[in-house]
Symmetry: none
Subunit: 232 residues, 4 copies
């Protein structure tokens, strides 16, 4: 094992923000350049980050060796095309996590993505799923966690709902916990230690709603990227 | 389940004709633009059809969500690269079959393709296979089936032979049955009902011979595309 | 100058059929795979031809050195993207015409294409242009020319009209001549000798109408391809 | 002439934001996904806009007929690769401006871009150019112009300087005027009426500095996009 060198804290954090392409196909007015462009742009407004987009349709599916060597953290948004991610991509990500402490952030439907389910060793199955544009109340369960910095409890007016049981191992921390207008609850922001690397799952992010433009969500993703890079 | 709306019978039938690319690689003088270009072109000569080509090397392997939402029927020709089709492609096709009554037509070596074997729940294994450029006599077993409309018994002068046993479930209809110059027989044109969706397998179509340019084969594929779209 | 070797008359004629992509963009129900796919498919139904599609968006704009070395004839359909063809492409085509007697066939709006205007040394400007879906009567002016073989005078029911004066040098032969329902006339099928190479311009082919599927047009394009390859 | 239909004021404004790719190549830490991704992302945070990125390396150089038909406004950032833009791209843009009142916004070094110089009929030549990371003071000269809405005089701390004489025709409006720390002045924000279409040039935007992330610059680009679309 070859842990990542102690980062120079003045270097920007390199975030490789991956999306599969379906959000731009299905919601061209909401994410005309896909979810990864929106998230990258938000991170890039802060000098602490350099965020590059990557996509299923890029060469080597956006996860080439040089891309992964460059990255401190991978953020992953997928929905319809999980099965199109070849196993070799997952193996490359896992090697960079194991050898170089690459951070990994799984977003929304990425609970079913190959890299996430492989990392946590579980199915990522959900209980009930409803797409009723209902409200979600998010409670900060661990206010002193770096991912919660500057974030208070908040409510998203329209979401696709996911319910427990969420088939994941016991998380190391439940940072955020959700309850839904139509009933049900979910561990919406959870961390997993992967030896010395770090993984975070964050539930909100359905492609029909403009959640990634909200200030609270942006704050959480910036915090999580910083934390997953070991810079908290 | 969400069955496809009753089609407007004046709309053209949308056929998404997929091929893996090997025929153009291996037989550039026979199918210089691949088998899917030949089949699409034949369908497009008839105002009833709009046929688009799709390929393993296209974005999302030619089976994106928008492509599948557009299509009434998928025709599939594969031979050497079955294993390069990601599972996600198969899952997308199956979902569109289950939810939207997408029709599926498997051609020749596609008896081993991932979508076909998954749909029928069997291996698609063959008995004897001979590539001796021998004759195949095709008998119309179910003359009143829409796929046989305007087709009489006919003989292909040179084919690659497939023999029984063909490991598929009992078909709903055996439309065509073959016997071969060098011996052996095969259920060459068979239908499977997939709840309210429709699947057809058609045996002839080896890449070395110009079978897809024959009038009898073209008639069968046009009939089958119309039937699989529920337009018979 | 290095004239092409006398072809082996049993070899198929290699046709490289180029289109710019706009017909598939603008008329997806008429030419879902673009005009070049339709023309290639028709040629490929005849064992005398092997026709490959090429496109503006291919590597080297579909006119690489190996593509041109393979080709006996280039057929060219362009409309909106003439200016996107780099000068290097034109130079490569002209070199293959000058050194290897490559044949060149310009279709419809290719009167304004860079290769055609460069070859003939004129602007290709038209007189009146009307897109009124009017009829065009095509008279065979030179019945004994190989391009007219098997073709009688015929009428196209709906066309985009081009009128004289057509700014081209005096053709070597006017094979076809058109008059239009709304008035006007045009030299619709004309040949130019380019030293030992051969060039043909053919007017019909507007992307809104299904002209390339007509038997008379297909006969003319097959004849012209054979003639431009020096195989008459 | 076929002026654009009066827009439905509830429709979002469609902005096609083009960049040539050099900023991502040369300043990967400043614009890791290129300037167009940054500008698009900012516009997309406002529900009034749907902004899509387009690039020199896209099919049809990101300026296909369907792209242009979709767009209400094109924003253009180029620097090193002006000469790689084919003339056909310029012709298409000009046709959409002439026929459909497409708006055009030229950014920074796009003073030398083919579309801008062609539209204004001048060279776009500059007087002195200095890249000294000096300050630029921008004065709002026409405070009641829609492009100046909500913008006061402001100072950019580090810029590449352009000096007069700027070889352009007399603008219809000088909205912004700059003076520089090291001396010199420039008409930094100028409008040109193109019959019923609208063109805006905006000087700041050098790739080394993070100017497009500033709130004042973002306000100006949003205002300009709205104005160029005829929505002021």
């Amino acid at each position: 094992m070859c842990p990542r060198e102690a980062p120079n804290v003045t270097d920007p954090i390199h975030a490789l923000v991956w999306a599969e392409g379906s959000a731009a196909e299905e919601e061209p007015d909401t994410y005309p350049n896909d979810v990864n462009a929106a998230i990258s742009a938000h991170l890039n407004e802060d000098d602490d980050f350099v965020a590059k987009t990557a996509s299923l349709t890029d060469v080597h599916h956006g996860m080439s060796e040089p891309d992964l060597a460059w990255a401190d953290v991978v953020l992953w948004w997928g929905h319809r095309y999980h099965g199109d991610v070849p196993d070799g991509v997952v193996e490359r990500i896992e090697r960079h996590i194991a050898w170089h402490d690459l951070g990994f952030i799984a977003l929304h439907s990425a609970h079913y993505s190959k890299p996430f389910t492989s990392l946590i060793g579980a199915t990522g199955d959900l209980g009930e799923v409803r797409n009723n544009a209902e409200a979600e109340h998010i409670e900060v369960r661990t206010p002193d966690h770096p991912i919660a910095e500057g974030v208070d409890d908040f409510t998203l007016p329209k979401v696709e709902m996911y319910g427990e049981p969420f088939d994941v191992p016991d998380p190391d921390t439940v940072v955020f916990h959700s309850t839904f207008e139509g009933g049900g609850e979910f561990r919406s922001g959870i961390t997993f230690d992967l030896d010395s690397a770090r993984c975070f799952y964050f539930r909100p992010g359905h492609e029909e709603f403009r959640l990634y433009h909200r200030q609270d969500i942006r704050q959480i993703l910036a915090n999580a990227t910083r934390w997953a890079a070991g810079r908290d």
